[in-house]
Symmetry: C2
Subunit: 342 residues, 2 copies
């Protein structure tokens, strides 16, 4: 940050003054045309429009933002785009924001540790956005929270309940219950669980809900296997599960781990779903074409994205806090990877 020796020639474009001169009107009239005000004579408007086109005028957003005191832009803090859920949520956020006339600023968190404190508060919220949607796991937020500027509207997409920001997320608990009950309803004695990393709030929500569903039904609770969301970790866990003849049903905390699990079962010669049933979580686009096609819990990322933009914008514009967390229900998508035990 210290070195910033970039002698960039600004290359400023034409401004309202240039258009005004060419059209023979005042800058204010140009402004009125640019903002579609009705109180401009049709002939004048045409003249201004023509002048704009001729000089290639584009309004300068910086000046606008300075004048208006708002940027019409929202920031999205993400850690890694690699996660399917983040990507799909971001896509929906971008669409919703664009339709509302807001720009989307991507604020990637490059590493978990924050740099020098002197820069810190200059960094993230550098007042170029009107609000922020946070897509990173809540535990990462803990470290970063210090530098979240006060007064900046924030919406968190996470199932953590610890923050007094508005929260929007898929209903993790309901989804996990759906998955577990589906397997029990098929007649399995109990359901094993391949969970996500302990650092993830969503993972622990799913695990707890799975556990509660089992105990509610009076089923034994097998030990939890722990993965890191990756197909590789699912594969490793799958090798263990394949070796245990007691296992007839597994609920994986996401589709990628389920995929690795499937591979391990294939390699071990355990048939799915004949020997072992598998349920995933997410419903990634490819899940329908896994072998066998994966029964999974569909998360409505698009809905979550849309709702989080709604929440943020209403907070930006009205200052309203929705302290009631918004939970988007999931649904079970039944495909070929589950069947009654034999």
């Amino acid at each position: 940050m210290a070195a910033d020796e970039t002698p960039v020639r600004p290359r400023r474009g034409p401004s309202m003054a240039d258009v005004a001169r060419l059209a023979g009107v005042s800058g204010q009239t140009v402004s009125r045309v640019a903002n579609d005000r009705h109180n401009v004579d049709a002939a004048t408007r045409d003249r201004v429009l023509a002048a704009m086109r001729e000089v290639g005028y584009r309004p300068n957003n910086a000046a606008r933002a300075l004048r208006n005191g708002q940027f019409r832009s929202i920031g999205v803090i993400v850690f890694e785009l690699s996660s399917v859920g983040n990507t799909r949520t971001l896509d929906a956020i971008a669409a919703a924001a664009t339709m509302t006339g807001y720009a989307v600023n991507l604020l990637p968190v490059l590493d978990a540790t924050q740099g020098a404190v002197s820069n810190a508060f200059t960094r993230l919220g550098e007042q170029a956005v009107d609000g922020v949607i946070i897509l990173i796991e809540a535990h990462m937020l803990d470290e970063a929270e210090v530098l979240l500027p006060e007064g900046l509207p924030v919406v968190v997409v996470d199932s953590s309940a610890r923050y007094d920001y508005p929260i929007v997320d898929n209903d993790q608990a309901q989804g996990a219950r759906l998955a577990t009950e589906h397997l029990l309803d098929l007649g399995h004695r109990t359901v094993w669980h391949l969970g996500g990393p302990p650092s993830s709030f969503a993972a622990s929500r799913r695990r707890r809900s799975w556990e509660k569903t089992l105990t509610d039904r009076g089923c034994p609770v097998p030990p939890v296997l722990v993965g890191d969301w990756s197909a590789g970790s699912g594969y490793e866990a799958g090798k263990q599960l394949a070796a245990d003849p007691d296992v007839t049903a597994v609920f994986a905390a996401n589709d990628q781990m389920a995929l690795g699990l499937l591979r391990a079962l294939h390699e071990a010669g355990r048939a799915v779903p004949a020997d072992i049933s598998v349920v995933g979580f997410d419903d990634v686009e490819e899940a329908a074409h896994y072998w066998p096609p994966l029964t999974t819990v569909r998360q409505k990322f698009a809905e979550v994205g849309r709702l989080s933009v709604d929440a943020l914008i209403s907070e930006i514009q009205a200052g309203e806090h929705h302290h009631q967390p918004v939970s988007v229900p999931t649904e079970l998508v039944s495909r070929g990877s589950t069947a009654p035990p034999r």
Copy 2:
């Protein structure tokens, strides 16, 4: 765009003037501290820093941008984030841009058709970015090009050679040759191809290179099957291929179609790789855990993202055009889905 009745109270934060007053210095000195200039007395700097912290000062980027004539922000035009390649490239772009001190503005193209012309030139490049990276297929660019503001630095990530913008992309032709030769080298008489949609330049590059590799080697060129990148389209194509006993090797133009293909072959009872070998393209994260693990061509999206940011920034700062397209070589990742014909 006509309706814009949002009475937002600006809620401006503290400015340099507030800090200056509190610290008992001039605004200019605050500016110097904020920009890490060296010619400020240590004691004064501390005082200013303390004042900044006290009032919660954050520099106003709009004012900065207005003053400096540049935004330190780049726009990324994407059509859909759903494509794996786009997402991974975007991730790399965001990381590279952030490290260079540039913000990333996501500019989603919501639909292929553009709206009213009167808004059009107000829309996209609304002068809030210093340059643009275009991640959409080139053919979509044709329709939108009209409204690309002149003088705005642009880098295109696409293998189309038609534009006089700097171009960065994975080397599609080399990758397709790698895939085809791999199968021929294993002893297959020829290689079938499941191509991407005709609208995609990358898809046609891969197809042409596959064809050329076959003819160079004197192999017969089977008819091309056409998909739309989705696993579903791969599945449909796979059903056809599975029914043809002549088929022993298939090169799918991406991993998702390869996945659908694998599923179709499983359902038809055709063993992979014993009966049919399959090669994909992309090397998505899950490819190693498909069943069987997929041999594929790895694209270096991260590299492409990094290089495109480099190209854009050097153009922004120096006005240099790299009219020489940049091709990033791919590499073949050999896994379990390919074997010699039996």
